[in-house]
């Protein structure tokens, strides 16, 4: 099992991140008042829970293209670089959170979904999805090998951020029910990893617009 799924520790991290998200969402639901805004812990959990699963094939690629003694290490270096890009987006989420601090949460949600819907039909979005199997040559050992893992992680991270930033940014500053986060994660995964999902890239516009309308109308 472990041999077939050598990235079990990553899968464990993803599960733990979802558990963490579930706990905080539940906490919010029970708490008296909720202010939207950026929370670095919440953001980190989101990145691990939602951005890592679609990228597991890339981790596997690093694993399979490393010498045996480097496999886990190389996977880790790759993943660290990949997540670093996402955590960098967290800085922007923080700023957006500051700027929109006085805007009603509902307005932020509607606007965010509008941006996400518009982004779905851009050429940049489409290209980012199409480029997801682009690789970087991985030397066999030494500093060059580590540098290549970092470069590959940064490149994949940037590509993935370009693909999914509006939705992630929105979920980073607005309290979102766990079910909505799960739906977003499924969508992100499907777009990258399934044939049907590839065709959904355009249809998601309808989905996001409908969600925005629902929030605008029913709050």
């Amino acid at each position: 099992m472990i041999q077939r799924y050598p990235q079990w520790w990553i899968a464990g991290g993803v599960v733990a991140a979802w558990a963490g998200l579930a706990a905080t969402t539940l906490g919010h639901a029970l708490g008296p008042v909720h202010h939207h805004g950026f929370d670095p812990v919440h953001w980190t959990l989101m990145c691990v829970a939602m951005a890592v699963p679609p990228n597991l094939p890339a981790v596997r690629h690093v694993y399979a293209n490393s010498i045996r003694v480097r496999r886990q290490w190389a996977s880790g270096v790759y993943l660290a670089a990949y997540l670093a890009v996402w955590l960098g987006l967290g800085g922007i989420a923080y700023l957006v959170g500051l700027v929109t601090a006085d805007v009603p949460e509902r307005t932020v949600a509607v606007a965010g979904l509008g941006v996400a819907a518009a982004w779905q039909v851009t050429r940049a979005k489409r290209r980012a999805v199409l480029a997801c199997a682009r690789t970087v040559p991985l030397p066999p050992a030494g500093r060059r090998a580590d540098a290549a893992c970092v470069r590959f992680g940064l490149r994949q991270g940037r590509r993935c951020v370009v693909s999914c930033w509006p939705l992630m940014l929105l979920m980073g500053i607005v309290a979102v029910p766990l079910a909505a986060m799960a739906a977003a994660a499924v969508l992100m995964y499907a777009e990258e990893r399934t044939t049907a999902g590839r065709r959904l890239v355009g249809s998601a516009v309808v989905l996001f617009s409908a969600a925005a309308t629902a929030i605008a109308v029913f709050g």
């Binding site: 041999q3 094939p57 890339a58 596997r60 690629h61 399979a64 293209n65 490393s66 010498i67 045996r68 003694v69 050429r123 489409r126 290209r127 199409l130 480029a131 997801c132 199997a133 682009r134 690789t135 970087v136 040559p137 991985l138 030397p139 066999p140 050992a141 030494g142 060059r144 090998a145 990258e192 990893r193 399934t194 044939t195 999902g197 590839r198």
Partner: protein, 486 residues
């Protein structure tokens, strides 16, 4: 183009009573005298070329179904680098043949017309461009559409130069025993998934298919977006060269002969493969849908066979990689990308931890393959590349199709960076026996092969070609463990 016909409409018994035979073009027409079948093909090409480009049965539209610089319904469908390569091209050829045959029938036969094939993997003259494709005029004095204007094909090939045996050989493909899966050395290509990192094309697609495309087409002008020079070299132009169809008929024939070899060789039974549907246009201009399961038996389902389907005599031992567990391990690789416009030799770096593994590779319980990954080139340079391991010839590869993989707006199922793979188990054993297998001195050499000159003319050196450099991101050596080994 209205109704989609049922696929079982094409069960072969609806139109004809006898099985059509696709024949070797050099057998049909060994000399300058026009053979009726080849002549009928040429005349049908004339008719198709005269049709408006909007007619799906026109020459240009048929070519665009494969790939083109424009987009439109049914266009740009070609399947390369996946396990659908053989099946898709069989359907493509089948409907093209029906369109051609409708013209042949309308012009008086021959009644048993079938598309000829070009089996280039034979001694001269069969390894030279068929004569009908280098004769300027048809018997009636009209221009021969089978011969392209100068530049349409590599000058040497157009002038009758012989193809190298390395370029025409299907030996590596014929030795494979699995159509798909079980490591990187499959006959028919990797499973087509939306995302598949470092996917390998099938061995038959790699050699001879891709190589023939490039050596027949030759170099194309940098950034060319039309189809006047080097047609076969670029998938967006390839099917506009009438020789394309004879080349692919031969590839299709090789699929039949591979199966006929037995030894466990069989088509995939995976439903994702069998049920994959593709759409084409028939001779009436109607849309037709076929699944892969509809075309696996050429005789009973498509009503044709080849005059020569005898399996190649397998003389070499069965490839070791195929008998191994899919657990494979990187043991050596180049540690920097290699950029080349001429021959280049690079060291394969063997890390300390894999040294013993590399030393043991000559052992029969181990197998090994070389992979060329992360290839970057603005376009197919129109030459092929020989790959050597410690100066021993490993195989030849071509960058056919890289333009499509480079295109950031084309959904080629995430293919960019196709992996080329070569079984080197037997070569390692030979090197070891010769005392040339030392982990401290492993090298790979890549040699661009200058196009064959026109017979009698002086061969142009590589420098004179002004080749655009290409970059090979990594060349790596993988060890595969035997299933039975402890």
């Amino acid at each position: 183009m209205t109704s989609a016909a049922q696929s079982d409409h094409y069960d072969g018994n609806s139109q004809e009573d006898q099985v059509r035979v696709r024949r070797d073009v050099w057998g049909l027409m060994p000399g300058a005298d026009w053979d009726p079948t080849v002549l009928a093909y040429a005349k049908a090409v004339q008719v198709m070329q005269a049709r408006p480009a909007t007619d799906p049965r026109s020459w240009s539209y048929q070519g665009a179904i494969h790939s083109a610089f424009v987009t439109g319904p049914l266009m740009n469908q070609c399947q390369h680098g996946t396990w659908f390569f053989l099946a898709w091209h069989r359907m493509y050829l089948y409907f093209f043949e029906r369109i051609v045959r409708a013209n042949v029938d309308a012009h008086g036969g021959p009644a048993d017309f079938a598309l000829p094939y070009w089996n280039y993997d034979q001694p001269a003259p069969a390894n030279t461009l068929p004569l009908a494709f280098r004769t300027p005029a048809l018997p009636d004095g009209s221009a021969n559409p089978l011969m392209l204007a100068p530049g349409g094909r590599s000058a040497g090939i157009a002038g009758g130069a012989q193809l190298r045996p390395q370029d025409t050989s299907s030996a590596a493909a014929m030795l494979t025993t699995a159509f798909v899966g079980r490591g990187p050395l499959s006959f028919g290509g990797d499973v087509s998934l939306p995302v598949r990192f470092a996917r390998s094309a099938g061995q038959l697609e790699q050699q001879p298919h891709n190589i023939i495309h490039t050596v027949v087409g030759g170099p194309r002008p940098r950034g060319a977006t039309d189809c006047r020079i080097g047609l076969m070299t670029d998938p967006r132009c390839a099917a506009l060269d009438p020789i394309f169809w004879l080349h692919h008929a031969n590839i299709d024939r090789l699929w039949v002969t591979w199966l006929a070899q037995g030894g466990g060789r069989s088509d995939p039974t995976d439903a994702r493969w069998l049920n994959q549907r593709f759409t084409f246009v028939d001779e009436h201009g109607a849309l037709v849908n076929l699944t892969v399961a509809d075309i696996l038996d050429t005789v009973s389902q498509l009503n044709y066979r080849y005059d020569d389907q005898t399996p190649a005599a397998v003389t070499a031992p069965a490839p070791r990689v195929m008998r191994m567990a899919p657990d494979e391990e990187l043991v050596a690789a180049t540690d920097q990308p290699v950029t080349l416009a001429g021959p280049v030799t690079a060291a394969l770096v063997v890390p300390g931890s894999t040294r013993t593994r590399v030393q043991r590779l000559a052992d029969p319980i181990s197998a090994a393959y070389l992979a060329v990954d992360d290839i970057e080139a603005a376009q197919n340079p129109g030459v092929v590349y020989d790959l050597l391991l410690n100066d021993a010839y490993v195989g030849t590869f071509s960058l056919f199709g890289i333009e499509l993989m480079n295109d950031p707006d084309r959904d080629h199922e995430g293919v960019p960076g196709l992996r080329h793979t070569f079984d080197v188990s037997a070569i390692v054993t030979t090197l070891e026996a010769d005392g040339r297998w030392d982990p401290d001195e492993l090298t790979v050499t890549v040699v661009p092969v200058a196009p064959a000159p026109v017979p009698g003319a002086r061969a142009a050196g590589l420098e004179e070609l002004g080749l655009e450099p290409i970059t090979l991101g990594r060349i790596s050596l993988f060890a595969v463990e035997s299933e039975t080994a402890a």
